[in-house]
Assembly symmetry: C2
Homo-oligomer: 229 residues x 2
């Protein structure tokens, strides 16, 4: 009887059994992406950029084996992943982990891990297009300090939001220039558009009404500290 099945804690305690599937490297982040709605391998990779494809593939298989993940042939041919009820039931834990992190992890430490792709990808996901005019609306973000991936475009059309790293060629309705740190702080609820603008770390050129309501349509990270609004 091999009690040392690799990665097993050898404990019947439910905490141990759950930790075996939930608390392995990268797994909470993969689950976060799945819970946010990512269904394809490369979407997951985008949300978890520093994982190797090998390891991502391995983790997905493990999640399947543990009964958290279904894997079906998608319409376009690619594999589609979706959480089972057991996987969906981890939502509270993943959110709880995030809230704990937002509350107790040192802000300065978080802001050491800036990543424009992740930030923009997350902003795209949560942007609320409702206050936008009912036409295509193009927003350009520039992070002047970055050596590459300096410019990003969000193209809002109807209720869809596209994120581009290459100029989509449309007229820019709103141009935002700020530092990656300021933008991340705003997104995380550690600062506001207003506070960063006042501090001279955030410029926005475009329709005044849209600029004024930016804090609202931008949305915040689901884990943002609650601010007095």
């Amino acid at each position: 009887m091999d009690m040392t099945a690799s990665g097993s804690y050898g404990q019947f305690c439910p905490v141990a059994m759950a930790a075996e599937v939930f608390c392995t490297r990268w797994t909470p982040l993969i689950l976060r992406e799945l819970l946010c709605g990512s269904r394809h391998f490369n979407d997951l990779k985008r949300g978890v950029p520093r994982i190797s494809p090998t390891l991502l593939s391995k983790r997905l298989k493990e999640l399947q084996l543990a009964g958290l993940l279904d894997c079906t042939e998608g319409a376009t041919g690619g594999t589609e992943y979706s959480l089972t009820p057991a996987g969906e039931d981890l939502r509270g834990l993943v959110m709880g982990l995030g809230f704990w992190g937002a509350r107790w992890v040192d802000t300065q430490k978080s802001l050491k891990n800036l990543d424009p792709s992740l930030l923009m990808w997350d902003m795209r996901r949560h942007l609320n297009p409702t206050p936008m005019p009912p036409r295509r609306y193009t927003i350009q973000f520039r992070y002047p300090e970055l050596p590459n991936r300096r410019d990003w475009w969000l193209v809002v059309e109807r209720q869809d939001v596209d994120l581009c790293q290459a100029d989509p060629g449309f007229e820019v309705d709103l141009y935002v220039e700020t530092s990656l740190k300021s933008m991340t702080s705003i997104w995380m609820g550690m600062a506001t558009v207003q506070s960063e603008m006042t501090a001279g770390r955030f410029q926005a050129d475009g329709d005044k009404e849209i600029v004024r309501s930016m804090q609202a349509w931008l949305g915040l990270s689901p884990f943002a500290h609650k601010q007095a609004s």
Copy 2:
């Protein structure tokens, strides 16, 4: 700028920041023990028996560094560990992990990881001495199938419960003979004293009243499935 600080996910997302401290190997189990009240190195080792002392020591240092754990010189000379508010605030997550495990992890799989020390240690911790007579009360457990660590004694005196692996020499008030699997199932709420007794997998000799109320004073794992009582 080293973005690859070992073990870091390089993400500002609070889920990632929290996972860096919470979702490393053994950490949830160490936290479970701390949350249950263990304060000394060897108590922790008892609750997490398969971790190496080296790694336990390392994890405790990491928890300290992360601000979850305080480490003070105890009265008797040994080091005493105690959770900070940030650590205590993980209680919900650890419990949530356990409840998820109890709900979704295959019962048969859990029951592959039997461990008498862990079971008895956990039973000792949660036993409710209130229905016991107000004198010293000795209970012997025997797991006949085990090659060693077959006999265990719980000595209840006032509100204290002691666990022994060597015969304490007192007269045995209640003698229980069962399989490790049955006892674990009962403890986890997957079976009851009654059901296992009826199935002939559980014998108890002693005061009838104590035997009848055994399910009550034994207590159940905090993660036990809720049973219709």
